[in-house]
């Protein structure tokens, strides 16, 4: 890969671009005025259950829920 001299701070902290853009989107949502703010936060709720597998067996599922990733 090319030189990593100009790695942005969030990449150096281990975040992916997706996480970064989600955080930014959340900040924008928090800046809205009242009825729109509640609506937009309501719209972007996250809920799913993820389970990793090892050797053909599922392990305990992790429920990722509620507020969108912050």
């Amino acid at each position: 890969m090319a030189s990593s001299a100009a790695v942005p701070f969030w990449r150096a902290a281990g975040m992916t671009y997706i996480t970064y853009s989600n955080i930014c989107a959340n900040l924008v949502r928090k800046c809205l005025k009242e009825p729109f703010k509640a609506e937009s936060i309501n719209r972007e709720k996250v809920h799913f259950s993820l389970s990793k597998w090892a050797d053909g067996k599922p392990q305990k599922p992790v429920l990722r829920s509620d507020a969108p990733e912050v």
Binding site: M1, A6, Y17, K45, V46, F48, W53, D55, P58, E69
Partner: protein
């Protein structure tokens, strides 16, 4: 043995009932038969009446499910079509390389959590398995990430050693980008890949859904391919602002591309699921209606036959009395 004889007799009396397989109805005509005084076996009207009632209820339920699926479809369809614009610029920029040969492929299979939606889940699983066969080889590695309960159940049977992640309950809240991007992020963090192949049902119309594969490459592979030339080779002719390197931008782009493609794929799959459920429930209601018609005919015939038998008995009894006088 008695049941076999009964079935033979039943077939003589009811030649028009052919057993049409509908999933919810499975109870055969039970052994409640009415043996008249002459030993004639006939199906009692009570049994037919019960069966008619249950078929009618099932018809109502499937009709209601069809309406629900139609309304949900209308809601999701607009969003799915709008989300197509999210990944089109990526394909214009980076090109589409479905036949790329990489060491580590990850197949992301999208399916539904609920059933009664026709054959869409099995087609997706078939395509995933075909991709596996295509991409497996001596140095090559294929892993599965499964979204949705239905595909998990099917794939568990024979490919369970290749599954690395399963995701369920995605449809609990209305689908939105935040959710899918968190999911994409999890997949990126947990699975190593050179190429991601997302298998989903693309929604063409209410009756047409085709299984499609969308390919997203990792940034390292994009760099390698850009050296080779072709669409990706033209990336160097773009000016990069902001002091980032090409590798940086490629990485951001690849992650964002994955997230956008996943979002569109999830929405299209949801549309296809609703469409498939609509048509499945529609044909189910139609079958139930036909079954109801045939049962009504049988019921009437049985009823008339029993009335005729009673009349004959009464009349012959009366005439016997007359003759005896």
């Amino acid at each position: 043995m008695a049941m076999a004889v009964f079935r033979r007799e039943g077939r003589r009396l009811l030649p028009s009932i052919a057993a049409r397989p509908i999933a919810p109805i499975s109870s055969p005509l039970s052994a409640d038969r009415d043996e008249g005084t002459l030993g004639v076996r006939s199906i009692s009207t009570q049994v037919v009446r019960n069966r008619m009632k249950s078929v009618k209820n099932i018809q109502k339920i499937t009709k209601a499910m069809k309406m629900v699926a139609a309304s949900k479809l209308r809601a999701v369809q607009g969003r799915a079509e709008n989300s197509r614009g999210l990944w089109q610029p990526f394909t214009a920029l980076l090109g589409d390389n479905p036949s790329i040969d990489v060491k580590k492929s990850v197949v992301v299979t999208l399916s539904s959590d609920k059933g009664l939606c026709g054959g869409i889940n099995s087609t997706v699983v078939k395509v995933s398995r075909a991709l596996y066969k295509l991409n497996a080889g001596p140095e090559k590695d294929v892993k599965f990430v499964i979204v949705g309960e239905k595909a998990k159940a099917i794939m568990f049977r024979d490919s369970k050693n290749d599954i690395s992640l399963t995701v369920t309950e995605l449809n609990k809240n209305p689908l939105n980008y935040a959710q899918v991007s968190v999911l994409a992020d999890d997949i990126l963090k947990n699975v190593e890949f050179d190429a991601l192949r997302i298998v989903y049902n693309k929604f063409h119309s209410v009756v047409a859904f085709l299984p499609t594969v969308a390919t997203v490459l990792s940034p390292e592979i994009i760099e390698k391919e850009s050296e080779v030339g072709g669409k990706l080779g033209e990336l160097d002719s773009y000016e990069i602002e902001g002091g980032e390197t090409k590798g940086e931008i490629l990485q951001n782009l690849a992650e964002f591309q994955f997230s956008c493609v996943m979002f569109n794929a999830v929405l299209e799959n949801a549309c296809s699921e609703m469409g498939a459920r609509m048509s499945a429930m529609d044909s189910s209601s139609r079958n139930a209606g036909e079954m109801l018609d045939r049962l009504t005919l049988t019921y009437n015939r049985t009823r008339q036959a029993s009335i005729t038998t009673e009349l004959i008995e009464i009349i012959s009894g009366a005439s016997a009395l007359e003759a005896a006088k």
